[in-house]
């Protein structure tokens, strides 16, 4: 039996599940970024808060992802629809690399540059927008890169709660002991992860070179 059989026979299904997979992972990282950017900036200013917040966010990773998906059944509105649960769980998972890198990126900006900017009379907002965030961008992109790869991987597990995505093929293949079906889910997921990783890696390299 050929591993590629199922892929070749059902290209539309694999494509549709891939798109679902990308949107689940993309939405999740998007939400994690919208939360992680301001939160990361805030904790970069307050070391005591940073320890507490990073500790809490870190502890989310202690919960096995499959269990986290399951816990969310009990949450109102979220628990009504499987994709909602998947996106929330994935956002919580991917918050850590984004948060950590925003904070590290801002703290890593040369203090002389920040002091010069402040001493010249830039407001805190101007300093953040024009100096700190642009200079931290390479490190922030690196965090997003880790988050995206993580999200693409864990999204396969979201199929266990019926959220869709390429994990569906994998779980179906496991149940039917059908390697070709597992492969039809795993190969596109791996390719997606590699593509996301290399393109964000390229972007990160370009942004770091300038600085």
């Amino acid at each position: 039996m050929n591993l590629l059989d199922y892929l070749i026979a059902h290209p539309h299904e694999v494509l549709a599940l891939s798109i679902e997979h990308i949107s689940l992972a993309g939405f999740s990282v998007g939400i994690a970024f919208l939360v992680g950017l301001p939160l990361g900036v805030a904790i970069a200013r307050r070391p005591a808060l940073a320890r507490a917040v990073l500790g809490v966010v870190n502890s989310i990773h202690v919960v096995p992802s499959l269990a986290l998906f399951g816990f969310l059944f009990a949450v109102p509105w979220i628990g009504d629809r499987a994709p909602r649960m998947a996106v929330l769980a994935l956002s919580l998972y991917t918050l850590l690399p984004i948060l950590r890198n925003v904070c590290a990126g801002i703290l890593g900006v040369d203090p002389a540059v920040v002091e010069a900017g402040r001493g010249l009379g830039l407001t805190e907002g101007q300093l953040l927008r024009r100096v700190e965030l642009p200079l931290a961008l390479g490190v922030i992109i690196a965090g997003i890169r880790v988050a995206v790869v993580l999200a693409i991987g864990i999204t396969t597990i979201a199929a266990a709660i019926g959220a869709g995505g390429l994990g569906e093929l994998i779980f179906r293949g496991l149940a039917m002991v059908n390697d070709s079906l597992i492969f039809a889910g795993a190969l596109p997921a791996a390719i997606l992860a590699l593509l996301a990783d290399s393109s964000l890696g390229w972007l990160e390299g370009r942004l770091r070179k300038r600085v």
Binding site: V113, G121, L122
Partner: protein, 265 residues
């Protein structure tokens, strides 16, 4: 408005700055900084020079005492307006590495909302003023020599044509030859612009060359205030120790002229 004498650009009255732990970086310092002259804050590392400078533009606020800038209490100034009223150049230069020379110098005019054409003109003017070739405008700081970076730092500090200029060892990180060159140029520039300059240094030669007044700091206190001539003649122990350390001896003093290493008799 308080009736401060208008020929004093900055007045420091009994100012102290204590760290939260209680350690005093600046201790009951009183000092008048005359307008349109260069005052040098001279002292060893940890004598409170840089802290004093940061108190002037409110990067730090005093824990006791009061500062007046152009007759107005510093705490009544909006910190942002106050800082834009004073140029700021530091030893590590702190150029924005992601901006070209042109944007580094033009950032303050830009955030002040100058029209682009006027800001551009100002950048050209400043680059010529500090001896930077116009072809360097599109370079990034990493593509410049140490001396060029310092020039950009000075040009950036002058961007809004502030009446006061604060400089923290602006020539400290340069090789001796480049340093002497820049010091000489800065001396001539200052004669032309007539800014109030407060310059922090631990280098006696630089202090004698550039300073119209030399405030000697030790352990956060003012140990003495001299003209360069007075500094070379005084028998105050600390000033004598400085002269000996720099080999400036007791020979006849000369007011600074040109790029020669002043005071090196």
């Amino acid at each position: 408005m308080t009736a401060e004498r208008s020929d004093s650009a900055i007045a420091i009255r009994g100012v102290s700055y204590h760290l939260p732990g209680g350690c005093a970086l600046v201790d009951s310092l009183s000092l008048e900084i005359p307008a349109r002259l260069t005052l040098v804050l001279l002292g060893r590392s940890g004598s409170g020079k840089t802290t004093t400078l940061k108190l002037m533009n409110r990067l730090l606020d005093p824990t006791a005492g009061e500062l007046f800038v152009e007759g107005r209490p510093a705490k009544d100034w909006d910190p942002i307006r106050l800082r834009r009223h004073m140029g700021y150049a530091i030893q590590d230069v702190g150029l924005f590495p992601h901006y070209t020379v042109e944007r580094n110098i033009g950032l303050l005019p830009e955030v002040e909302g100058w029209p682009a054409i006027r800001a551009r003109e100002r950048v050209r003017e400043l680059m010529a003023l500090v001896g930077l070739d116009a072809s360097l405008a599109s370079r990034y700081p990493s593509e410049l020599s140490g001396g060029q970076r310092q020039r950009v730092g000075v040009a950036r500090a002058l961007a809004l044509d502030p009446p006061i200029l604060l400089m923290d060892e602006p020539f400290g990180a340069l090789d001796p030859l480049t340093r002497a060159e820049l010091q000489g140029e800065f001396y001539r520039l200052q004669k032309r612009l007539g800014k109030t300059v407060v310059l922090v240094t631990h280098d006696l030669r630089e202090a004698l060359l550039l300073g119209a007044r030399i405030a000697l700091l030790e352990s956060g206190r003012l140990a003495g205030l001299y003209t360069p001539d007075e500094f070379l003649r005084t028998s105050d122990a600390l000033a004598v120790a400085y002269r000996q350390a720099f080999g400036a001896g007791s020979g006849p003093s000369h007011p600074p002229h040109g790029p020669a290493l002043g005071g090196a008799q």
